[in-house]
């Protein structure tokens, strides 16, 4: 039987993979993908908490969800993530057009 901890572990593993990728990759598109990965890890965690810890669920032992706050939150995260991806990719594209590269190492105009 899958318990809450399994889902949380999955979320943590996914999040760590995404974080590692976001910090270590040089390719801007790859970084964006890793960020998506972290979003999804969070989504899994949110849904899992909603499923297992929502008050109605624990009280009635029935699997029918009563409170949908966690799920709605997840939908919001997905929506925002989609927008973020669109903006992020647009920026990457713009950088590519002007600088002919999408390596974040080369985009360091902010440094001293």
């Amino acid at each position: 039987m899958l318990s809450l901890n399994h889902f949380l572990l999955l979320g943590a593993v996914l999040f760590s993979i995404g974080l590692y990728g976001a910090l270590s990759r040089r390719n801007a598109v790859a970084i964006l993908m890793c960020i998506e990965l972290m979003f999804n890890a969070v989504n899994i965690t949110l849904v899992a908490f909603a499923r297992f810890l929502a008050p109605a669920a624990t009280a009635s032992q029935s699997l029918a969800p009563v409170s949908t706050v966690g799920q709605v939150f997840t939908i919001f995260v997905i929506t925002v993530a989609a927008a973020e991806a669109a903006v992020g990719l647009a920026i990457v594209l713009a950088i590519y057009r002007t600088r002919r590269t999408i390596s974040v190492e080369d985009v360091d105009l902010m440094k001293w």
Binding site: A22, L23, R25, R26, I31, V104, D108, M110, K111, W112
Partner: protein
């Protein structure tokens, strides 16, 4: 008195102020209208002033005296932090006399200026400035407190600056304006310090209150003397007394009517007025030390300036030194306690010296030159100018019954009673005065014309530009001026009397030069002095020794002058040939300008250089050191900012880990 309300006094400066504003804002392009407006305004002021004087005279003649002849109006201008600053008007005989002098001279000078400035490009501006000056001077003389007087005092200083530098495109005029402004500022600083000392001890600005406070002992002893000497320092600057006299001769760079109005009749007399207005305070100083300072500074200035007047060749410079000398006389008169005599001399001097200046202006207008060595024989051509100036010269020299005699004689009599040394100084100065003014008259109006002949007159364009009424800026203007001169036939035959707008004021000023002295003569019971002293009885015993000797001195001066410059029996270089250095020394104004130049150049500039070094190396060193330290710290720390997003992300992650670890270890549950 009942017919004239003190509130009307406020109207007097209002008219010229309105004229100034309207000319400056509206009628500037319409030069004739500007002049008429300005003259009309001052004429209105003149009428109100005459009314004010009339009301006082009526009261005086009906034997009112003391406070009955004084009207005051004081309101609180504004108060700040518990200090109420007053604004107020005073109408007493002294103010009424000053009002009438200022408005009459200003009116006549403005009428005259129409002719003198007739084709000056700054015609409207000139009348605007003159109106502003008249306003300021009127504010000054009707103030009943130090604060308002000081405002008027600075305003007339500003107007003086503007009008001396009226032809600002001439470097000498610009320099003279600056010199006048800075030199008088030095005195004004003294005045300010004096006012503040008085204020902090008596807590009052009003003259009457201060006099009362001094009587009850709020300010006395050495501090009072110091305060009054500081106030006198202001008068020294404004009235061109030694050692701050150096600006007045240079101020002759301004238009001649300005010299007549500001630098002869009114503004320079403001210093004398100030001492007269605060006379009670001066007299209250222990042993009258403050008055003694006034007397000696005045006496020394009188003889010092007169001696320079002896050698000057520029007609306006002679008048300038004469003015300084006569102002010294007034100061001496006040200083020896002959209060009414000093004021009386101010009154007489205003008319005859304004006349002398306007007459000089008329001569300059005719010959386009200021150097008396290039004049001569003008008496036949400029008849009105000659006769009117002769009146003024006789008044200045002190020949009865001309006005100057009565007041000067009374000052000398006052000095004679008080201090023999001052009397001798005054007598010698009187001799010099008679000599130099007739030297100027003889050199200008008698003998043969020594100027350039008709065809060469254009060659001496330097003289032309010196006090040029054309003030031509462009070559075209120069050419037009020349053509015009040629058409009118310049040179000796082209010299003609000035237009009536210039001669009528001369004639009108000649009348008081002859008669104003009689007001204070024994024939009229010293009416003027009694009036000025607010109806007090003036002793009428005459010092015939002094009177006879002053007539003798004046006649001797004129005679000697005629022997040298008219009959030419005594060579003019009798003294200058064996003692050339003395002549050069006096001609160089006793090297006072050089001395001040040296002081400024070595002492002031030296101190400035030291301050500059301190500023550059010490102050800047500290400031720059701090800045460099901050910069270096920043330079070291900025390496942290790599610009690499993963680095920042790692830092955020590391930070989150550390915070989490701390929270977990400390067992906190957020």
């Amino acid at each position: 008195m009942e017919s004239f309300s003190i509130e009307y006094l406020g109207l007097i400066p209002l008219f010229p102020l309105l004229a100034f504003v309207i000319i400056a804002l509206v009628t500037r392009p319409l030069k004739r209208l500007s002049a008429y407006l300005s003259i009309l305004a001052v004429f209105a002021s003149l009428l109100v002033s005459a009314w004010a004087l009339y009301s006082l005279v009526i009261a005086f003649l009906s034997h009112a005296s003391g406070e009955a002849l004084v009207k005051e109006l004081t309101v609180t201008w504004f108060s700040v932090g518990g200090v109420a600053l007053p604004a107020g008007l005073i109408l007493d005989p002294l103010t009424a006399m000053m009002l009438i002098v200022v408005t009459i001279v200003s009116f006549l000078v403005q009428v005259y200026s129409q002719g003198y400035m007739h084709d000056d490009p700054g015609y409207s501006k000139y009348f605007a400035f003159i109106s502003l000056f008249t306003t300021s001077m009127l504010i000054l003389v009707m103030a009943n407190n130090f604060l308002q007087l000081y405002i008027g005092w600075e305003l007339v200083g500003l107007c003086s600056y503007l009008l001396i530098g009226f032809w600002y495109h001439k470097p000498e005029a610009a320099a003279a304006a600056k010199k006048a402004f800075l030199t008088t500022r030095l005195g004004d600083l003294g005045l300010l310090v004096g006012i503040l000392i008085i204020y902090f001890t008596t807590h009052s600005f009003g003259f009457a209150e201060i006099e009362h406070e001094i009587k009850v002992g709020a300010l006395s002893g050495g501090l009072l003397t110091v305060a009054m000497v500081c106030v006198f320092l202001g008068a020294v600057g404004k009235s061109a007394q030694f050692p701050l006299h150096v600006w007045l001769p240079d101020a002759m760079e301004g238009p001649t009517p300005v010299s007549a109005l500001i630098h002869a009749a009114t503004m320079v007399a403001a210093g004398v007025y100030l001492v007269a207005r605060t006379f009670e305070m001066f007299a209250a100083s222990p042993d009258q030390q403050a008055l003694l300072v006034v007397a000696y500074v005045g006496g020394f200035t009188a003889i010092f300036a007169a001696s320079m007047g002896l050698v000057m060749n520029d007609i306006k410079k002679v008048m300038a030194y004469s003015t300084i000398s006569q102002l010294g006389y007034m100061m001496m008169g006040l200083g020896v306690g002959a209060y009414a005599a000093g004021v009386f001399h101010l009154f007489n001097h205003a008319f005859f010296k304004a006349l002398l200046f306007l007459g000089s202006g008329s001569v300059i207008h005719a010959v386009h030159d200021q150097d008396m060595r290039n004049m001569g024989g003008l008496g036949g051509k400029l008849k009105i100018t000659f006769v009117t100036m002769l009146f003024a010269s006789l008044a200045l020299a002190g020949i009865p019954p001309f006005s100057g005699f009565w007041s000067k004689d009374e000052i000398l009599a006052g000095a004679f009673e008080k201090d023999t040394l001052l009397y001798i100084i005054g007598a010698v100065a009187a001799f010099f005065t008679a000599f130099y003014i007739f030297r100027a008259m003889f050199m200008t109006f008698t003998g043969k014309y020594r100027g350039a002949p008709a065809h060469d007159s254009h060659g001496s364009a330097g003289g032309h530009g010196h006090d040029s009424v054309h003030a031509s800026a462009s070559p075209e203007d120069e050419l037009r001026a020349k053509v015009k001169e040629h058409a009118s036939g310049h040179g000796e035959h082209g010299i003609h009397e000035s237009p009536w707008v210039m001669t009528v004021p001369l004639i009108l000023l000649a009348i008081p030069s002859l008669l104003s002295g009689l007001l204070g003569s024994p024939f009229m019971g010293m009416a003027f002095q009694s009036f000025i002293e607010k109806g007090a009885e003036v002793h009428e015993e005459l010092n015939y020794t002094v009177m006879m000797s002053s007539i003798a001195i004046a006649v001797a001066g004129i005679l000697l002058s005629s022997l040298v410059y008219y009959f030419k029996i005594i060579p003019a270089n009798l003294i200058s040939r064996p003692l050339p250095w003395l002549h050069a020394f006096v001609l160089n104004k006793y090297a006072m300008d050089d001395l001040y130049g040296w002081i400024v150049n070595s002492v002031v500039l030296g101190a400035s250089r030291a301050a500059l070094w301190f500023d550059q190396y010490v102050v800047d060193g500290i400031v720059n050191g701090v800045a460099n330290l901050v910069g270096a710290a920043g330079g070291a720390l900025r390496k942290v900012e790599t610009g690499q997003i993963p680095n920042y992300g790692l830092a955020i992650f590391a930070g989150a880990v550390v915070i989490s670890a701390v929270l977990i270890i400390s067992g906190s549950t957020l």
